[in-house]
């Protein structure tokens, strides 16, 4: 008796799930999908992105919507995991979204972009920036954040020209994003006539980097550049200073977070330089926006909030241009974008979906805060 009632109940659960799955938007609204990590280790980043996207949508809906239709957002959690990401992407496709925005971890964006490509839905990626994404040559995937090679170039220029560095050490945390950036920085430095005295990977889950840093110290570098995330970055800075390694320490955009300074300790972090996509607090025109964001969500915008806000505005702009919510028309309109104004300056795309112009800026830590470097 028990066995078959069990199977029956499984069938019941299954059919229930399918029923709830059905039901999609009606003709009076435009459905836009948001894919970002809202659970797992990067949950905060995803939430910061979602907030900014919601803010842009609320603004336009407050003005009566676009093309006389209101925009409705559908959120899907990719948990920064490739497997969860394809499921999330398929969920959005099933919801008949017109376009998709989001994408924080490159490793999750890679498989998801394949799903959107085969479904013909445009995606505006507002954080992830691995070079592997454009290498697929998908015509409907657009990267609003400059890719690793642009950042590598910005970092190289700063270290070689501004710091007058010759001997550079590069450390990465062995994740897709970090290795990619590290490799490109190494190549750029060598091309610019600098010398890469040490190129190493560290385990981001470890907390003791002294052995690597002793190795760095022995090479007496003029600058050390870290391409990983802020948690390990903070510890590296702290132990870097403890050991008294020569030269300055710099980090890439993944480490630009107030927590980096807290982990490292204010004294240790002083003078650390960073390459970063434009944060609202560094852009004169974005001061008011940051304030609005804080009033609305009771917290400061995250590193990718501004880009996500601009990404959503870009999609709205494309909807207006295309005068349609057909995915293909939106793709076409985004590809044809010319000089669309964002916090980081005017935006347009190359054929592979990356920005024509790098938007990276140099910032540095002063008195425990990140500030623009003049």
């Amino acid at each position: 008796m028990k066995a078959h009632s069990k199977i029956a109940s499984i069938l019941l659960v299954l059919s229930f799930l399918f029923l709830t799955a059905c039901g999609s938007g009606n003709g009076n609204e435009i459905v836009i999908g948001v894919i970002s990590p809202t659970t797992g280790q990067s949950a905060k980043m995803g939430q910061d992105m979602n907030n900014a996207i919601q803010m842009a949508v609320d603004e336009i809906n407050g003005k009566g919507g676009v093309n006389n239709k209101k925009i409705r957002l559908v959120f899907a959690d990719d948990a920064c995991d490739p497997q969860a990401s394809t499921t999330a992407a398929n969920k959005l496709v099933s919801e008949n979204v017109s376009a998709v925005i989001g994408g924080y971890c490159s490793s999750a964006v890679l498989p998801a972009s394949g799903v959107f490509n085969s479904a013909g839905i445009p995606m505006v990626v507002t954080a992830a920036n691995s070079e592997k994404i454009p290498e697929n040559n998908y015509k409907n995937i657009f990267l609003l954040n400059s890719t690793a090679s642009a950042q590598a170039q910005t970092a190289t220029n700063y270290m070689i020209s501004n710091l007058k560095g010759k001997k550079i050490a590069i450390l990465n945390d062995n994740t897709a994003y970090s290795v990619d950036l590290a490799e490109r920085t190494r190549d750029a430095i060598q091309k610019a006539g600098g010398q890469v005295v040490l190129y190493e990977s560290v385990d981001p889950n470890a907390s003791d980097f002294n052995s690597v840093l002793t190795k760095v110290k022995s090479k007496t570098p003029d600058a050390t550049y870290w391409t990983g995330y802020y948690a390990a970055g903070g510890l590296l800075i702290k132990q870097f200073k403890q050991q008294g390694v020569s030269g300055s320490f710099g980090v890439a955009d993944g480490s630009v977070d107030q927590t980096l300074i807290k982990i490292a300790g204010e004294n240790n972090a002083e003078g650390v330089f960073a390459t970063m996509s434009p944060l609202p607090q560094f852009i004169p025109g974005a001061k008011n926006w940051s304030k609005d964001y804080e009033t609305k969500f009771k917290q400061a915008p995250g590193p990718y909030s501004a880009l996500s806000y601009d990404g959503m505005r870009l999609i709205i702009h494309a909807l207006e241009q295309a005068k349609s919510d057909d995915p293909n028309a939106i793709t076409g309109a985004i590809a044809k974008t010319k000089g669309f104004a964002t916090f980081a300056g005017p935006v347009e795309f190359k054929a592979n979906g990356t920005l024509t112009k790098s938007n990276f800026i140099m910032i540095g830590v002063k008195n425990g805060q990140f500030e623009m470097v003049k």
């Binding site: 499984i10 069938l11 299954l14 799930l17 948990a79 490739p82 099933s94 592997k132």
Partner: protein, 326 residues
């Protein structure tokens, strides 16, 4: 009273089969994707069940075999233009060989040591995938083509779902027959009491290796299918969490029994999808579930087999004091 019950049960199995066939036809892309994920989890869980459920060896690094299958298909199809069908075959062979190579020195160890060794080994495989050039390093391999027969390409999710379904049916058939054979019984004897099994002439090491190799093979198969389904693979997918989830699938439904393992795999995939808003609670709840299952229902959620009394020899026997076999 047995016959109507049996009929009822097989009726339900047929119904289940029809539902499984119908899923992509009556639902949307999302549920087809979830169902495909469930399919390949079933395959993984069935494979791990040979090792954990049948032979009683705790393997905490099963995702290593799954990684070998994935990377074999990923590398061969993208860099050498090898057909998927050859790559899945080779993937299964590599996984099996690796399983045997790892098994020879480690299967002599005590069961708890084995658990940690397999865990360490799983991490080593993940790190190799992460640190090596030929595996695409940390960003993995992308642009893996879909399988095809002649000019027919398994392009859509639906076709891939059916492909996986066929593999799952095949696996059920093979593992069910193995489980009910001399080999399957030998595994269970080892699981129940290795010394006693040895005393009955069962070569423990040989059968443990066999279980390990076969389990690895199914892991490799599932890995190849995973690679073509995802089209991009990265080392993140092959960590300890993956191994733990597969283990949970095996334990939750009913360790050692095919129907239980399938139920477990479906639950492990379906529950988090059904409770998306609780997803932060997911792994916590899974951990608690593992503990509760072991304490209260060590044989899993699937109902246990009934014991039967048989008629025979008139000579009555008086039992002594009741005891537990230790």
């Amino acid at each position: 009273m047995n016959t109507p019950f049996l009929k009822n049960k097989s009726f339900l199995y047929i119904l289940l089969f029809i539902v499984m066939i119908a899923i992509p036809l009556i639902t949307n892309r999302y549920w087809t994707d979830v169902a495909s994920t469930a399919m390949f989890y079933i395959l993984l869980a069935l494979g791990l069940n040979i090792i954990v459920g049948y032979a009683g060896l705790l393997d905490l690094g099963y995702s290593a075999f799954f990684a070998v299958g994935s990377y074999t298909t990923g590398i061969l199809t993208t860099q050498f233009g090898v057909s998927f069908w050859i790559s899945i075959f080779l993937g299964a062979i590599f996984a099996t060989v690796l399983g045997v190579l790892i098994g020879i020195p480690t299967l002599r160890l005590r069961s708890d040591y084995l658990a940690i060794v397999t865990l360490g080994f799983g991490e080593i495989i993940r790190l190799i995938a992460n640190n090596s050039k030929f595996t695409g390093g940390a960003s993995g391999i992308y642009g893996i083509p879909k399988p095809k027969i002649g000019s027919f390409v398994f392009q859509s999710n639906v076709l891939l779902y059916y492909l996986m379904f066929i593999f799952v049916l095949l696996a059920i058939f093979v593992i069910w027959r193995l489980g009910n054979s001399r080999v399957g019984r030998a595994w269970k004897y080892i699981r129940e009491d290795e010394d006693a099994a040895e005393a009955m002439g069962v070569n423990g090491l040989y059968y443990k290796l066999l279980a390990y190799g076969l389990g690895a093979m199914f892991g490799g198969l599932a890995g190849s299918l995973f690679a073509v389904k995802m089209s991009a693979i990265a080392p993140e997918s092959f960590g300890f969490m993956q191994s733990a989830m597969i283990l949970l699938a095996v334990v939750l439904g009913g360790i050692g029994r095919i129907s239980g393992v399938i139920l477990g795999a479906v639950l492990v995939i379906l529950l988090p999808e059904a409770m998306r808003s609780f997803s932060d609670w997911r792994i916590f709840l899974f951990g608690v579930l593992l503990v509760l299952t072991m304490i209260f229902r060590p044989n899993g959620l699937w109902p246990s087999k009934k014991e039967t009394e048989e008629m025979d020899d008139p000579e009555p026997l008086k039992g002594g004091s009741k005891s537990v076999v230790s």
